[in-house]
């Protein structure tokens, strides 16, 4: 048997508390309704009528006025609580007698079905229940059969248990301040292991970790793919702490893990196997420890005409590869000098470059094409305006030169290689 508690008057927040006093099996279809399982409570409170009275008394003590209905099907109980009011106990096999007089529009059905029933001249739930079940299923489908069963209290369904939002955090105040990384990691590892176990029991993985190291330090790491191995998380925290060591001794540690559904293990059948995400993430962290934070990742071209415009991303590396067709023609490669080499350029009578001298680049120009004028983004701080030349020097090497309009200076931008 199931009880439905519907709020008539009073604060909504008190409802779960009252429901939890009687049963841990609680469903919340909406904010003002709670469905609980009351089977087995007879030994404590007596009959179902006594149970309903006790619930009403407890609610009244908290300033809450409830409509309470008890029935063998949770949806039947909800229908009675919503549309009859007061305290109703519907014994099995008497559902139709209690609900029958209610108008047909109280049924939790789609507008199409209600419209059809009204056009048929069905006015009450008793009229609907009197229709032949097979004919109803033929005309209204499975939904029609479910609605008829609901009125008659037939069938059963389990409650969709409402779980309170889980808190995946842990905090420890240290007796003695810690200034070394290893003992700190020992503490963090215990906390992370516990939280990951709780996440695994709910079939969840980790999307990000935030470790607050009081008084000042904080570690935030986002994982590009869901991680369920605590060792991977701890390795990332270790590398992050090695790269950015706390400046002051740590007095308290708080760890918060962001949950996410775990990733599917299998990708395409005919695509090459992707790199193991946990190892790839660790590799990226190790590489960044060597070459710097913004120096490792997958390049992405920016949507601009500005020369050498790109940024580095790392999340795309974790996606599985696709087999595509490579272009048939070999294209000339280019190498940048970063930063561009300041150059001294002599021009001829036709104002074309005749001789170039820069650090590591020196010679007479044998061939040149240009100038190609390019300007842009004058409305932002990254504006550029320049004349570009493609040149070949007497040693056979080919370069791209440019003259900046603002400073009238020459630069060697790079090398065709």
């Amino acid at each position: 048997m199931y009880a439905c508690l519907a709020i008539q008057r009073g604060p909504v927040d008190a409802l779960p508390e009252i429901a939890a006093m009687f049963s841990p099996h609680l469903e919340r279809p909406s904010e003002d309704i709670a469905l609980i399982a009351v089977y087995g409570l007879e030994r404590l409170f007596g009959t179902y009528a006594h149970i309903a009275e006790t619930i009403e008394r407890e609610a009244a003590a908290r300033g809450l006025e409830l409509a309470i209905a008890i029935a063998s099907h949770p949806d039947t109980a909800m229908l009675a609580a919503r549309h009859i009011g007061g305290v109703v106990v519907i014994d099995p096999a008497t559902e139709l007698a209690v609900l029958g007089p209610l108008p047909i529009d109280v049924l939790p059905a789609s507008l199409d079905i209600l419209d059809t029933l009204m056009r048929w001249g069905v006015e009450t739930l008793a009229d609907f229940a009197a229709l032949p079940p097979l004919g109803v299923i033929e005309r209204l489908g499975e939904e029609g059969g479910r609605l008829q069963a609901l009125i008659e209290g037939r069938g059963a369904r389990p409650l969709r248990i409402a779980r309170p939002p889980e808190d995946y955090t842990a905090r420890i105040d240290l007796d003695e301040p810690l200034s070394q990384i290893e003992p700190l990691l020992f503490i963090v590892s215990g906390m992370v292991n516990d939280i990951v176990k709780r996440l695994a029991s709910h079939r969840l993985a980790v999307a990000a970790i935030k470790a607050s190291l009081a008084p000042l330090h904080e570690v935030r790491i986002s994982f590009p793919v869901p991680v369920d191995d605590p060792r991977t998380i701890l390795k990332q925290v270790h590398l992050e702490l090695e790269a950015h060591k706390p400046r002051r001794a740590i007095t308290a540690v708080a760890v918060e893990l962001k949950p996410t559904p775990p990733r599917p293990a299998q990708h395409g059948f005919f695509t090459p196997p992707a790199a193991e995400p946990a190892e790839l993430q660790t590799l990226l962290a190790r590489l960044r420890a060597i070459v710097g934070d913004d120096s490792a990742g997958a390049p992405e071209l920016l949507n601009t005409h500005r020369p050498d415009a790109w940024r580095l991303r790392s999340d795309v590396l974790f996606e599985p590869g696709k087999i595509t067709t490579a272009p048939a023609m070999t294209k000339v490669g280019f190498r940048y000098y970063r930063p561009a080499l300041a150059a001294s350029v002599a021009v001829n009578k036709e104002h074309r470059p005749a001789r170039v001298e820069a650090r590591g680049v020196r010679g007479a120009v044998t061939t040149s094409t240009g100038p190609w004028r390019s300007t842009g983004e004058w409305w932002t701080g990254t504006s550029w305006a320049r004349d570009e030349w493609d040149i070949a020097l007497d040693d056979g090497a080919r370069y791209r030169l440019y003259r900046e309009h603002n400073s009238n200076s020459w630069f060697v931008e790079g090398l065709y290689d």
Binding site: T271, P272, A274, A275, E276, E279, L280, T282, L283, L284, R286, L287, I290, V291, G292, S295, A296, G297, A298, P299, E300, L301, D308, W310, L312, R313, V316, L317, E319, P320, G321, K322, I323, T324, T325, A326, P327, M329, T330, K331, V332, G333, F334, R335, Y336, Y337, R338, T367, T369, G370, D390, A392, D395, G396, A397, R398, G414, L415, Y416, D417
Partner: protein
């Protein structure tokens, strides 16, 4: 009852007779062997970046994950994308003109696994002080894996560590009126040795 007699040679796992070859180079050049180092060297504008981009394009189009360790911070993503490289399958590591950091990064990437083609671009970097032991270390790291280590340099560096060496020479450029249209690449296989090797001429275009 007699026990089966097995030869000792059958019990020792043998290395495969020849490494698998991947066709990641333009036609006319040797394929790149797995589990070995291939070295491409040549002067400026001889086509080192062109061949590097072509290899990365072929590997990323095969769905493989590749890595480029860029010692001189010279890689141009725009021209690489134009050559067909899938940039989202490429890990670009910029070592900011530090050849030793580049070697350390290459060692890490090789040991991490999961990358088919690992390109170590040392063109324009200071390679004078690289100890020869580094090349032996990298060769041991790549051996018995299915990865390919491709090293591009200005001058031959790897000596015995490289399985294949390709020397490039500056060849003619194609200028059409007021446009730089492309360049030809003259490539010569230096290792394994060939008797009187003739250069292979490849055509590369800007468009």
């Amino acid at each position: 009852m007699s026990l089966p007699v097995r030869k000792l040679a059958d019990l020792i796992p043998r290395k495969p007779a020849a490494a698998a070859l991947c066709p990641y180079t333009p036609a006319g050049l040797p394929d790149l062997p797995e589990g070995a180092i291939t070295e491409i060297y040549g002067p400026r504008s001889s086509g080192r970046a062109t061949l590097l981009h072509a290899a990365l394009a072929a590997a990323t189009n095969a769905g493989e994950l590749c890595a480029l360790i860029d010692a001189a911070d010279a890689f141009d993503p725009c021209s690489a994308s134009h050559a067909g490289v899938h940039l989202n399958r490429l890990l670009w590591v910029r070592s900011h003109h530090d050849a030793h950091d580049a070697l350390k990064a290459a060692d890490l990437v090789l040991h991490a696994g999961g990358f088919k083609l690992i390109a170590l671009d040392l063109c324009g970097a200071d390679t004078q002080r690289i100890p020869i032991s580094w090349w032996r270390r990298l060769r041991l790291a790549v051996e018995n894996t299915s990865s390919i280590l491709l090293v591009t340099t200005g001058a031959p560096l790897l000596r015995q560590a490289a399985t294949i060496q390709i020397a490039l020479e500056t060849h003619r450029a194609l200028w059409s009126g007021t446009l730089f249209e492309g360049a030809d690449i003259a490539a010569r296989q230096r290792k394994p040795m060939q008797i009187a090797p003739a250069p292979t001429i490849l055509h590369a275009r800007t468009k």
